[in-house]
């Protein structure tokens, strides 16, 4: 009887969330209409257009950590950082000590981390030091939607997570990407260090947008209310520098924005799309959007990472049979459980022109159940640079075949797939 009830409850969750998916917007007539420009579509989905300088790209977590420490040390007025996972470790002591020192010196430090952190089941769990100690130094720490016994009352809301990763320092320095602030993202010095990316650039316009979004959001979460006018923006940072068009997406849980944006980009594609999805748990609408683009003659390459974590890997393997329905060049990294550093990067390159970066995984969870960021940069120069990076990753992959997918489609893998589809 108990087992029956549990099964019914689980199926209810699946039906509820599958029924509420926003990804149908990827296939809406408006998104698919070739007569509507990409700019119009992005504007319709609420993405402001901004100008940004050419970014410095960090592909190594240790290098980003060193740069981050430098940025924190130089902060004079305020610093805002958001990460899905953040915890200290021996290797990260300098970063967290610098943050604490800055807060003690009077710099306003706002630190947002998702409440799932204590349940980090990556290699980080062996190096995890909670960061609540930061509050003793005056850091304004906010744990989004923490998971605790009492909060079970909030039901399915516990599935809603803040997955954004961004940094603003003094309205001057900006960074967006996929790196967390935990051991495996920026602390480890061996194969446990994930392969990922962070993009640092100047953009007073994007600073304004981020602050306009952040301040009211913070005030809905915390009693330590803040005022927008207390965060200044430095407009001198882009003077004399070449800038590029970009659109910023700030996706809220249960919002249709990510679906509209990614659907519009796929509909815009004329000849090529290159994708690093991280956890590729696409639902039927997402698969159909890719299939339609491929059917129009767009050459689509997608690289699935080799995940050392057996649970995730088996879930991904189960999913490949559905992914093959897209008819695209679907590849998986050759890897082994002992040495492979996890490819955590999220990237999409459209027509060697639009580069999409940020925290958004190409999957059901990111498109429906999470706060996410994405920046669409219109720069052929940057597209060339990241395509080179993509090709290096692509070179170490093998095609996913029907035979492989058939072998992986086992009942034993199904529970791991289900868990990862909602929670991955």
């Amino acid at each position: 009887m108990k087992q029956k009830s549990l099964l019914i409850a689980f199926l209810l969750i699946l039906v509820l969330f599958a029924g509420c998916t926003n990804t149908r917007h990827m296939l809406s007539p408006f998104v698919l209409d070739p007569a509507v420009s990409l700019e119009t579509k992005l504007s319709y989905y609420g993405l402001p257009e901004v100008q940004i300088t050419y970014p410095d790209v960090y592909y190594n977590g240790n290098e980003w950590k060193d740069r981050l420490i430098e940025l924190v040390q130089n902060a004079e007025e305020y610093l805002i950082t958001s990460a899905f996972l953040a915890s200290s470790a021996k290797e990260l002591e300098e970063l967290y000590e610098t943050l604490a020192m800055k807060a003690e010196s009077g710099v306003n430090v706002y630190f947002v981390v998702d409440g799932i952190g204590p349940f980090d089941m990556t290699e980080t769990r062996l190096h995890l030091i909670p960061i609540k100690f930061l509050t003793e130094s005056g850091v304004h720490l906010l744990e989004y939607n923490p998971i605790s016994g009492g909060r079970i009352v909030s039901g399915a809301n516990l599935l809603l997570r803040d997955h954004r990763k961004f940094l603003i320092v003094d309205g001057k320095y900006l960074a967006i990407g996929g790196m967390n602030l935990n051991y495996i993202s920026i602390g480890a010095t061996d194969d446990n260090l994930q392969r990922d990316s962070m993009y640092e650039f100047f953009s007073p316009e994007l600073c304004e947008v981020l602050l306009d979004n952040f301040v009211p959001w913070w005030n809905t979460q915390s009693w330590e209310e803040i005022r927008r006018e207390d965060f200044s923006v430095d407009y001198s940072t882009t003077e004399g520098k070449q800038t590029y068009r970009a659109w910023y997406m700030d996706q809220f849980p249960l919002d249709k924005k990510a679906s509209g944006v990614y659907g519009s980009l796929l509909a815009e594609a004329q000849h090529s799309v290159k994708v690093l999805p991280f956890l590729p748990f696409l639902d039927k609408h997402m698969i159909e959007a890719f299939r339609l683009a491929q059917e129009r003659g767009v050459d689509i390459q997608m690289v699935i990472p080799f995940d050392k974590r057996v649970g995730n890997r088996k879930g991904i393997e189960y999913m490949t049979k559905d992914l093959l329905k897209m008819g695209i060049d679907l590849r998986i990294e050759e890897g082994n459980e002992e040495q492979q550093a996890l490819l955590h990067e999220k990237l999409m390159i459209v027509d060697d022109r639009y580069v999409v970066i940020g925290s958004t995984n190409l999957n059901y969870r990111s498109f429906n159940l999470a706060y996410e960021t994405a920046l669409i940069i219109d720069s052929e120069k940057l597209a060339r640079q990241v395509t080179e990076h993509f090709q290096q990753i692509y070179a170490a992959t093998i095609p996913v075949t029907e035979e492989m997918a058939k072998t992986w489609r086992t009942f034993a893998r199904f529970p791991r797939f289900l868990f990862a589809f909602i929670g991955g």
Binding site: S5, L12, G150, V153, N157, Q221, S222, W223, L254
Partner: protein, 190 residues
């Protein structure tokens, strides 16, 4: 009022309510992300006794609905409806009360001794509640006065510990019932 009483009696006799409460709760929790904001719901564990009839002592679960239109620092009002469901001394399932009333947070401060209980900043908001208290078992309506001395609030959550209440029969002026809510969690959709 008799109809109301008969309705609940039938539900309990048929054992329907007890059987379906877990299902209803699961559905409610699943649907909550889709609900409007500024409303909330809560779950509590209560115990209560009636001064003149200890056989009607009840303990169990209390469910509440909250409407909090404002966020004043002092005397912040909320409209609250509550219903309890529990077992009496003889093991029978009963609804001992339905309450509807006004709760007022007397003050809100983040400078207090309980911040260690939470990772996030939490406000101390002791609250008083006055409500109409209906006991469907006895078909009587009373006035209830409650106090939550240990109520901690976040923007989206209330945590209440050891909240007490007493009810008075306004006709006789005598205390009728007293009870305690050991812990109450209230989730506000925001």
């Amino acid at each position: 009022m008799q109809d109301f009483h008969d309705f609940y009696s039938r539900l309990l006799e048929d054992d329907l309510l007890r059987r379906y409460i877990p299902t209803l709760m699961i559905l409610f929790l699943l649907l909550s992300p889709l609900s409007a904001r500024s409303l909330g719901y809560g779950v509590s564990f209560f115990g209560q006794t009636i001064v003149e009839d200890v056989d009607l002592t009840t303990s169990g679960v209390e469910f509440s609905l909250v409407y909090k239109p404002y966020s004043f620092k002092y005397f912040n009002p909320s409209l609250i409806a509550r219903t309890a469901f529990g077992t009496e001394a003889d093991g029978a399932y009963r609804i001992p009360y339905v309450q509807m009333g006004l709760s007022v947070d007397l003050l809100r401060t983040i400078n207090h001794k309980f911040n260690f209980l939470s990772g996030n900043v939490v406000a101390y908001t002791p609250a008083l509640m006055g409500s109409v208290h209906f006991d469907p078992r006895r078909d009587c309506t009373l006035f209830s006065l409650g106090f939550s001395p240990f109520k901690l609030s976040q923007k989206d959550f209330w945590y209440e510990f050891f909240s007490g209440f007493v009810t008075y029969d306004l006709k006789t002026g005598e205390m009728d019932t007293w009870g305690i809510n050991l812990v109450r969690y209230t989730y506000l959709f925001k």
